[in-house]
Symmetry: C2
Subunit: 679 residues, 2 copies
């Protein structure tokens, strides 16, 4: 069979995909290993070696991917055959290494003896340190049990301990049903290196050219968004199965598919190209002074500052009646908010105003002095700086991907000293949101930082790519409101804690936050429905902020396009767990999370428990699943910017009571042992 | 209330168990923390401190155990109360450390907000490095859900990551039902430091003296066997609740209970006293030469050598017709088997015989020369030594706790060169057996060796104590038979592999084992029923050997008393897993195990998958469970020594098919990365 291989990165053929061994080898191996065995088989077992006829005459190029002899059954029923198969596999892989080949696709695993298949694979990975191995997996076996292939892969991948050199070669050759079952979504979180398609899988379009059926097409498009660097293995292209286009038509079609699947220009996905699944440590602007380049980058955001200007403008309009208005940009950086504030003041044709700006970063302060000679600049930490007068509007941009993770609550506590009783803060409130995630890639990335002792203990900022959302729900964790000294409206998070202010002796209007920072402690208990089976690797963290009125900022997956479409400044947060947790279909995930402080530091802790919902009927393959999916998989709860209603999470937890526990994590980052933010 | 504390180790009272705080503190704390809060509460939160009236006047002795203020609700519904409770807990524990006290009992956890209770506990363990903390747990809440207390403890212990300073204070005060549910067995695997009993739990015997009700009694006796060093916390002893004996009667009764629960003298448990749950590296007599003391110890066994003598005797009787008989003790050590062989020859009044003995350990060989001047001694490895003539009976003691783990199969392969076609081996066969185990202690012990990189990767020899068998089944792994060159009977393990012998060119009678040692490779797939919920920490490994006829050796828990009662030479094997696996009630555990070789080394690999059986009805607390237990929990399958039938494991695996996967381990010891036995 003729096989060609092409990649999404550049249009160059990677030198194909070949099988090194011949039928002669198959015959010889069968004679030696499946009969009663003779002295020749003994010799072979002690010193496994090919004879010239066992191999194709010419060595393939080093960029080529090897198809390991498909008849090698690592999971054969006969343990003796398994034993000899493993010897043959190591012999073949050793020859690959000799030929400088670095990528091989293993035979299809069967349902029985998966542990033996996995063990042989793991042993091969260990004995061939230069080889990347892919498990060939037909995505579809029978409508009876659509989950089986993924389950098999999941077992192999888990038994091989998420080996970084083990990947998945997804075989789309068998014809797919018209309705794709939800389990297909599971592959988005897997390390797919190859997509295998036969010319037989193509149909002819009106003009007689080969095209993929709609289902296969959408499946491939879906996979391309999560693994943009996948390689395609095309087979039987010269079988003349389609009238037009010849052997090249198939590749041309796939190239077309790849080109037309790329992220829309201007979208955060396009902006973040190349950053996919790359773990970054969150910024800590309070304890570190940001670099010029960092300011540069974030000032580019086309949406964020526009929304800030609109919020300031609306606030000014609502205060048009005021004689004189005092504004302060707290944490001005190089001044983007000053620019926007001035623009808003102009638009609102404010008659009389004073604009202050505070900055603690001496280098940035220098830039401010040069850029804004007419603005009242104050140098220092907003929590301690001396303000000449009380302020009406405090404007700040202290938010992190999880809202409060850059210490906005603590910083804004410190400015309330010099806010008028009627003063407002822009942003006026912000909330943190969480959702369970599956991703082999992110699990491996986080685990590899464990050399530093922080593996699975520290939250990261990351642009998600090869991930799968395990639950339709994105739960609210908690929230913060500013300022605090007026009567509070209903806020998310723990109101009692947030009320922990005491009257100042000097000024009865002024409330002083407690030294222990306890009012900024938060805790949340969340329950997530898990409709389809999957493996939990961690949690996605998002924020949403109300700047003023109905103007806001949001990276909440279900709200962001309504609130701040194409905003680039924030990638989501990723809270990893140390050990993957397997979650059966129709299970429930209970997650506890805390925002803690000791007065000097702030940190998060998190943990999770998995339960199987009582009285369930066991999943009957994909038919059952597709029903589950008929209810919208990713419904969007209303956003505060759209209307006032909020889905509140507190009190949702029913406790494992009538449920069956199926898994649990330990506590992560206890006492902030691995990650903290200095106050 | 008056509380006294006594321990099973020696009869000395440990200086009691006291509560440090007074009602005054409770009142003051409530005023500060559950009201609206005033400046005093702020002061306290920033610098938590007791006032004199908050504490009992006199500091207790350092041996005393502290009862932490029972009103501290670490899992209160109000997050604010939880916050202040945690401050109060740390304040109280800090004072314990100041007073040099090292053991404290935490308040009873409730069902809600368990993660918060666990988080506060974990934080306390981290901030008080000198303190051991025990979670007080009433074993019985209501007949509605007997599992709830253990489940709560399991969550706390797991969230605290099996912290070595965290233990369980089991509270038996609430009256127990007459029928103890199976879940009670779960406590045997937990780190219990205290058993709390109130005088109210006692009833009066005929003479009016306080005694415990039968259920409580058997429960305590059960616990004492798994945690012999537990401390008892006795309360209300001076409440004059019973007519006779006064306050001391309760302690005297418990002492009586302790004394009468100790292991029977002569039993392996008594022999192993002090070795409980102590992990030992298995002997490797092939690559290491044993020490004199080691020989000394093992020669003490009252049962093992008696059975060997009986086996040899019966073999001789069956061969009485022979003119001349040649015996060889292969691996004679200091000669115990020579002694027994001579005794057997005498008993069988054998007319004409030759007795050879082979030993590779030069020091032991020296002893042999002095002790047995009339025996034909040969120095060297039995696999290479030159034998003057062919042998009728080969006698060896090369068995390990898992049967083949000291390379008996490889060694005995090497002696078949000089065995007559009609020759026999004593032992003639042996089998390995496996059973899933739960044990916090063993998990922690194995984990702590992970600094060496072998945590959870290497099998240990250990005398089980604080363990719980998770399944009624002890499955057969595989077996070996000697010699191999006659037609084989049905043997366990993989027969096809074991037939991998080739004819020798020189002597057609003689079969040569393949150099790659592949015929000694084994694999087993086992399925275990898990009737009650529990946590898997590893597997218990046992062996059973047929010496000759119906004479054998066994440490199989269900056979050992029939086959070789009170044999001392072998503790069981423990195969740990790296991460605990939670198993729900009515689940099924699939275990794969391999015995592998590369011709130079031999090692084991293992892994496990957990499934929930389809179409189950969810466990309704203990009533449901007690039914499950009404079927004998530890039935004994027939032993080869009792009769010929064997429960064969191969082909039992049904594959995860109709089941719901709930957990999976990675592969352990891949490629023998952490443990091996040199050939």
């Amino acid at each position: 069979m003729s096989v060609c291989l092409l990649t999404t990165t550049g249009d160059t053929d990677e030198g194909g995909c070949v099988q090194l061994t011949t039928d002669a080898w198959h015959t010889r191996w069968k004679r030696m290993c499946t009969g009663t065995g003779d002295s020749s088989s003994e010799t072979w077992r002690t010193a496994p070696a090919f004879e010239p006829a066992d191999l194709i005459p010419t060595a393939p190029p080093v960029t080529c991917t090897v198809l390991v002899s498909p008849w090698l059954q690592l999971d054969a029923n006969d343990a003796g055959v398994r034993h000899d198969t493993e010897i043959a596999l190591r012999q073949e892989l050793a020859h690959c290494t000799f030929l400088n080949l670095t990528s091989a696709i293993l035979p299809v695993p069967h349902l029985a003896h998966t542990p033996s298949y996995a063990r042989a694979t793991y042993a091969a990975l260990s004995s061939s340190p230069l080889l990347r191995l892919a498990v060939r997996l037909p995505i579809y076996v029978s409508s009876a049990d659509f989950c089986a292939p993924w389950q098999t892969w999941d077992s192999i991948r888990t038994l091989c301990e998420y080996h970084p050199r083990l990947s998945l070669a997804l075989d789309l050759t068998p014809p797919l049903p018209t309705l794709l079952p939800p389990i297909t979504g599971a592959y988005a979180a897997e390390p797919i290196s190859h997509i295998m398609i036969s010319a037989h899988s193509f149909i002819s379009n009106a003009k007689g050219y080969p095209v993929l059926p709609k289902t296969t097409q959408s499946l491939v498009r879906g996979l391309l968004t999560s693994v943009p660097t996948v390689s395609f293995v095309l087979s039987h292209t010269d079988a003349k199965l389609h009238a037009e286009g010849g052997g090249d038509a198939y590749r041309q079609y796939l190239h077309h598919l790849i080109r037309t699947t790329q992220a829309r220009e201007g979208s955060v996905e396009a902006y973040a190209r190349g950053y996919g699944d790359f773990l970054q440590a969150p910024l800590q602007p309070l304890q570190d002074n940001l670099q010029n380049a960092t300011y540069e980058t974030f000032e580019q955001d086309p949406v964020k500052y526009a929304n800030y200007e609109e919020a300031i403008y609306r606030a000014l309009v609502d205060r048009a009646a005021m004689e004189h208005i005092v504004l302060c940009v707290s944490g001005a950086g190089r001044g983007p908010l000053i620019t926007r504030a001035l623009a808003a003041l102009l638009r609102a044709s404010a008659k009389s105003y004073t604009l202050y700006a505070i900055e603690k970063n001496p280098s940035a302060y220098l830039v401010l002095q040069q850029t804004f000679p007419h603005v009242h600049l104050l140098f220092g930490d907003m929590r301690s700086v001396e303000m000449p007068e009380k302020v009406d509007i405090v404007i700040s941009e202290l938010l992190g991907s999880f809202g409060d993770n850059e210490l906005s609550p603590e910083c804004l506590d410190g400015v309330e000293r010099w806010m008028k009783p009627s003063a407002i803060s822009i942003p006026s409130s912000y909330t943190a949101h969480l959702s369970p995630l599956s991703s082999s890639k992110l699990y491996n990335e986080a685990r590899n930082t464990s050399g530093t002792g922080i593996g699975g203990e520290i939250p990261y900022v990351v642009m998600f790519q090869a991930v799968r959302r395990l639950s339709p729900t994105v739960a609210d964790c908690w929230g913060f409101e500013h300022p605090r000294f007026e009567e509070e409206g209903p806020i998310k998070g723990d109101t009692r804690m947030s009320k922990r202010y005491t009257q100042s002796a000097m000024n009865p209007m002024l409330l002083v936050p407690p030294k222990d920072n306890g009012h900024n402690v938060r805790s949340a208990e969340m329950v997530f429905d898990i409709p389809e089976e999957g493996v939990l690797h961690g949690f996605a963290g998002y924020f949403e902020a109300v700047l003023y009125d109905t103007v806001g900022l949001s990276i909440h997956p279900d709200h962001k396009d309504v609130v701040s479409k194409d905003m680039l400044s924030w990638f989501p947060m990723f809270f990893p767990i140390r050990e993957p947790m397997y979650l059966a279909a129709h299970s429930e995930l209970h997650v506890s999370m805390w925002r803690l402080t000791d007065g000097k530091r702030v940190w998060y802790e998190w943990c999770a428990e998995g339960y199987l919902k009582g009285g369930f009927e066991k999943s009957k393959g994909w038919r059952r699943s597709s029903q589950a999916s008929s209810s919208p998989m990713f419904h969007a709860p209303p956003s505060p910017m759209a209307d006032a209603v909020e889905t509140v999470v507190h009190g949702q937890v029913e406790g494992g009571g009538g449920k069956i526990k199926i898994g649990q994590t330990g506590l992560h980052n206890v006492g902030g042992r691995s990650s903290w933010i200095g106050l």
